[in-house]
């Protein structure tokens, strides 16, 4: 339980901390002591050297993810433009082969602002809630959200520019998103408008794809420019309330990325590619509480760490089903 609360606290903005000796399991402690022996340290160094020569991370999960994002958003467009009627509407709310679906954050905004809930919205919200609890809430971010894909491209550009010294990543406090979340919730209740929807890049993009380009796309462009030149993954990391809604929903999801400390060489490659590296704090040497442990609630299940880990210490896993892939 306290592990879950910790995971929430870190998602809400607290810096992850090294676990206190009392909270580390005996097995993990034994493994830590074993790994600390000079022979083991030597061996790790050798492995890392080897791996630098031979290991090349693939693109499997990224390709799968991009296909998923493009496909889902394309289905929305085709459903309207060519009348194939698979998912009608936009990402804020839709009908999937006639069945109601509602984005949890947009639905929440409407409920707070309108203060009345019709049955269709309850149906739509429940279905989506179950789906994203199963797949892990923020899977929405990296497997469906069109802004995520644009943000990923902006990030690639940012990293290229940063390597040449033309851009710099300025970090923000992750608590900003929590504060904004509360601010937008309060604003919806007090003003009676869905204030956040005005700047919701997911809704803006989804509508632009299906119903045609709009002026609002300029706002999305501004966000992307900030991400390229000023702050890496600015929106998804520090601002987006949608991400937080889904993070809470998927905190105890069956689908998650699992960390196995035995295989880990503690190089930190995973944290370098991760959009939310605070969820991977247990991969630091001596930071894991168990030999095997799930990574935090803020994880978007993008698979970048799985891809980049040379020893397979990070893997997708489904609770109760055992090892996957």
């Amino acid at each position: 339980m306290s592990r879950l609360l910790d995971s929430f606290a870190v998602m809400f903005g607290r810096e992850p901390a090294k676990p206190t000796p009392g909270s580390v399991s005996p097995d993990a402690k034994a493994l830590f002591d074993f790994k600390r022996t000079p022979e083991q340290a030597q061996q790790r160094k050798r492995f890392i050297k080897e791996e630098k020569l031979h290991f090349k991370p693939g693109n499997r999960w990224r390709i799968r993810r991009w296909i998923s994002i493009v496909l889902v958003n394309l289905l929305f467009v085709l459903s309207y433009q060519f009348d194939i009627q698979v998912v009608e509407g936009a990402l804020t709310a839709s009908r999937f082969v006639g069945f109601h679906m509602a984005d949890l954050n947009s639905a929440l905004q409407v409920m707070l602002a309108y203060k009345e809930v019709v049955i269709n919205l309850v149906i739509g919200t429940s279905t989506v809630l179950i789906v994203w609890w199963l797949f892990g809430g923020r899977s929405f971010c990296s497997w469906v959200c069109p802004y995520h894909l644009l943000g990923e491209l902006a990030e690639m550009l940012h990293l290229k520019l940063a390597a040449r010294g033309w851009a710099k990543d300025r970090q923000l406090h992750r608590g900003t998103r929590t504060v904004l979340y509360v601010v937008f919730a309060v604003l919806a209740v007090v003003t009676g408008y869905t204030v956040f929807e005005t700047i919701n890049p997911v809704g803006i993009l989804s509508r632009a794809f299906t119903y045609g380009i709009s002026l609002a796309v300029l706002w999305v462009a501004v966000l992307l420019l900030i991400e390229v030149f000023y702050s890496r993954r600015f929106w998804c990391r520090y601002m987006c309330p949608i991400g937080m809604t889904y993070g809470v929903v998927g905190a105890v999801s069956p689908v998650h990325v699992r960390y196995s400390a035995e295989a880990c060489l503690h190089e930190g490659e995973c944290r370098r590619v991760c959009m939310v590296p605070h969820v991977l704090s247990m991969t630091k040497f001596g930071w894991n509480q168990d030999v095997r442990q799930e990574i935090g609630a803020d994880c978007t299940r993008c698979g970048m760490c799985v891809e980049v880990c040379p020893t397979g210490a990070l893997k997708f896993d489904i609770k109760g089903v055992g090892k996957l892939l």
Partner: protein, 249 residues
């Protein structure tokens, strides 16, 4: 004070990070709140789709998904852009471009709405109260001059659609493909989908006086068909949005 100092951290970089976060966080919230401004500046309320609840509630209840847009057979419904602030992504009808002529018969947009922003209260077109027609430019009205009308109502390149029961009961066709030849222009009455919502009344007691004036009755639902079909430029008859919401009370 020391608590804040502690929170901000001792290092300069920590304080910078805090300031950056506060500034950008405020900017994002501010940008969203900027949605108030267009709302205050918007002089005329939009004509909302059938069943729309009172405007203030409508903006709150609408989830901005456009499902109403998708089901409309004449594509009368379009979505507002960010220049309408909190109204971004909300549906409206520009009657002059394309009015709602109830071609769907069943108020499909209401059935499509997932949040109740379009109320289920109207169950047939006659019960809708989205707007009210008004003779805006009486001097422009052809009937008031006793004039007829010949040709396509809105010119050959007008793209609007209308369902002509006599041509095809089920499929709307372009207005441009349906030219008229009328001894006295009665387009607003002829194409009104609600019987008796608008009538042409004599302008004098003289039986030889051809002149007629359109009179709008309380049964008018405000669909905008008369504004769309009116052949004068600009339209002599227009629709005012009803502010009380378009559901019957």
């Amino acid at each position: 004070m020391s608590a804040i100092a502690q929170f901000l951290g001792d290092e300069k970089s920590d304080r910078r990070e805090f300031l950056r976060s506060a500034l950008l966080g405020t900017a994002v919230a501010g940008a969203a709140l900027g949605g108030f401004l267009p709302l205050m500046a918007l002089a005329e309320p939009r004509l909302r789709p059938p069943g729309a609840i009172v405007e203030k509630d409508f903006l709150a209840a609408c989830i901005k998904c456009g499902q109403c847009v998708q089901v409309c057979p004449v594509e009368a419904i379009v979505l507002a852009d960010i220049d309408e602030g909190f109204g971004i992504g909300t549906p409206y009808i520009d009657a002059r471009d394309q009015a709602c002529d109830f071609s769907c018969d069943a108020l499909q947009c209401i059935l499509a709405c997932p949040t109740g922003a379009l109320s289920h209260k109207p169950s047939k077109p006659e019960e809708v109260r989205m707007g009210l027609a008004r003779l805006d430019k009486p001097d422009a009205c052809l009937a008031r001059h006793g004039l007829g009308f010949k040709g396509p109502a809105r010119g050959a390149d007008y793209e609007g659609l209308h369902r002509y029961a006599a041509v095809d009961r089920w499929k709307p066709i372009p207005v441009a493909d349906h030219p008229y030849d009328l001894p006295l222009c009665d387009l607003c009455v002829r194409e009104c989908p609600v019987k008796g919502a608008i009538t042409l009344e004599p302008m004098s007691g003289d039986p030889n006086d051809k002149r007629r004036t359109p009179v709008v009755h309380p049964t008018c639902v405000g669909c905008g068909m008369c504004e769309m079909i009116c052949p004068t430029e600009p339209a002599a008859i227009v629709i005012d949005a009803r502010l009380g919401g378009s559901a019957p009370t």
